[in-house]
């Protein structure tokens, strides 16, 4: 086959060339059977198959589909097909199937009719008419669809930029408590000397209390000793606070001061630390 025909858009506002033959636009489909050999192939490419071609033949002769003049149409169709074959064009198989169907319909119409078969299925043209009509509906639908205003041809998306300093929202990763514990286990497996860093529930709350006291001392220069205790926590809470204060003092993170005997005891961050 030669070069495929450039697909033409379905715009109907102005007559589009049916085809281009050696650069010349063919605006009208040929009225008679004589078609220059070059045009023939291009012409057939302009049809979307045998149904499209048959519709063209029917319309050209101003027939109604429902009247389907099988004799005339078949004759014309066959002449085109034969011409194509004489010119050794490779015809799509669908055109040959259609030729066979037309021949069969024609021969069946020639057979004498039997009254008992004269229901709606008896006319051998009915199926072809049904197909031609269905195809014509969708051929028209395609044209209508193509006429709809559409993006990138009839309208364009309107958009605005974001400011240059725009920062997208970051979704932070989710972490499960088990992930953290597993991480700790990994460390312990690696560190043989982890025995020096024991983890134990009682000690845990002591260290938490140490953090809390240090936090308070970041906001205030001094804490009164009594402020480190919350009696609602009970005896255990008091012990934990006391241990935390001792531990902080031992680690030289805080300094305990008392001006005189029985005077209030004050906690402050160890010398030189943030105050």
């Amino acid at each position: 086959m030669s070069e495929p025909l450039v697909a033409e858009p379905l715009t109907i506002q102005q007559p589009l060339p049916l085809a281009f033959v050696r650069g010349e636009a063919v605006l009208e489909r040929p009225e008679d059977l004589y078609i220059p050999p070059d045009a023939m192939e291009v012409l057939l490419d302009a049809f979307e198959g045998p149904l499209d071609f048959l519709l063209y033949l029917i319309r050209k002769h101003k027939f109604e589909i429902v009247d389907l003049p099988v004799n005339e149409i078949t004759q014309q169709y066959m002449e085109y097909i034969e011409l194509m074959q004489e010119m050794n064009f490779e015809l799509a198989a669908e055109y040959l199937v259609m030729a066979a169907m037309l021949a069969e319909i024609k021969s069946r119409l020639l057979l004498p009719k039997h009254r008992e078969h004269e229901d709606e299925e008896s006319d051998p043209r009915a199926e072809l008419i049904r197909r031609l009509q269905a195809y014509e509906v969708f051929r028209q639908a395609a044209t209508d669809l193509d006429q709809l205003p559409r993006q990138e041809r009839d309208f364009f998306h309107g958009h605005a930029q974001l400011p240059a300093d725009f920062q997208p929202m970051i979704i932070l990763p989710e972490v499960a408590l088990e992930d953290m514990v597993l991480a700790l286990k990994d460390i312990m497996k690696r560190a043989n000397d982890f025995q020096h860093h024991h983890v134990k529930r009682e000690q845990m709350s002591t260290r938490e209390r140490m953090s809390r006291i240090l936090s308070l001392l970041q906001q205030r220069d001094y804490l009164r000793f009594e402020e480190c205790f919350d009696t609602s926590e009970g005896k255990e809470g008091v012990v934990v606070s006391f241990l935390a204060i001792l531990e902080l003092s031992k680690e030289k993170l805080i300094v305990l001061t008392q001006v005189e005997m029985y005077a209030p005891i004050h906690l402050k961050v160890a010398l030189g630390a943030d105050g």
Partner: protein
């Protein structure tokens, strides 16, 4: 968390969101996205969108609603001027592509074989790929016949592209002329492809 936003800023926010989003935004998108935590009722949002549509009625871009939501688009009357700015943006589609698309749009879900039956020619893989790549059609299931062919349907992007809210806004199919010829008796033209 509930935050507070001034009414004037709320309209600005919705307007800016619609302009900066690449995709159309539905009311749902707006409420769960840019308006999250602001506690804006659906009625309130609808009122603001209507107000915006009015504000832009006479402008170069308009706020339109299609299948996936609201977005701004240029006035169709300006297309002749704008289209020449971006000729490469507007691909043309062959009759074969448009006929296949029309069949999928009006007869979905439909197999490639059923499309071929109606068109009377084979439908190339290239055509189907063009439509799928364009995100206009997708396979929504498989027909339980030998070979389990894919069933094609159109997408929200297809409707957006053609400026439609839903399939019922597609142009009406032409009425088939009733067959009155006595010779033919009645030929049912339901468009049923089974044959």
């Amino acid at each position: 968390m509930n935050q507070v936003i001034q009414p004037a800023q709320l309209q600005q926010l919705i307007e800016a969101a619609l302009f900066t989003s690449e995709q159309p935004l539905s009311m749902q998108d707006l409420q769960s996205g840019v308006l999250a935590g602001l506690n804006i009722s659906k009625n309130k949002l609808q009122a603001i969108l209507t107000q915006l549509q009015q504000d832009y009625a006479g402008r170069g871009v308009q706020l339109v609603e299609t299948a996936s939501g609201f977005h701004f688009q240029s006035r169709p009357e300006l297309s002749d001027y704008l289209a020449r700015l971006w000729p490469e943006r507007s691909p043309r589609y062959s009759r074969a592509v448009m006929e296949t698309l029309a069949l999928i749009a009006y007869r979905q879900p439909i197999t490639r074989g059923e499309i071929e039956d109606i068109r009377g020619v084979s439908v190339s893989s290239q055509i189907m790929r063009t439509l799928v790549d364009r995100n206009w059609v997708k396979v929504v299931g498989h027909k339980e016949v030998p070979g389990r062919p894919g069933l094609y349907a159109t997408t929200a992007e297809f409707l957006d592209y053609f400026g439609l809210k839903n399939l019922s806004q597609l142009p009406q199919l032409t009425e088939l002329r009733p067959v009155s010829d006595a010779e033919l008796n009645t030929v049912e033209m339901t468009g049923d492809t089974s044959s």
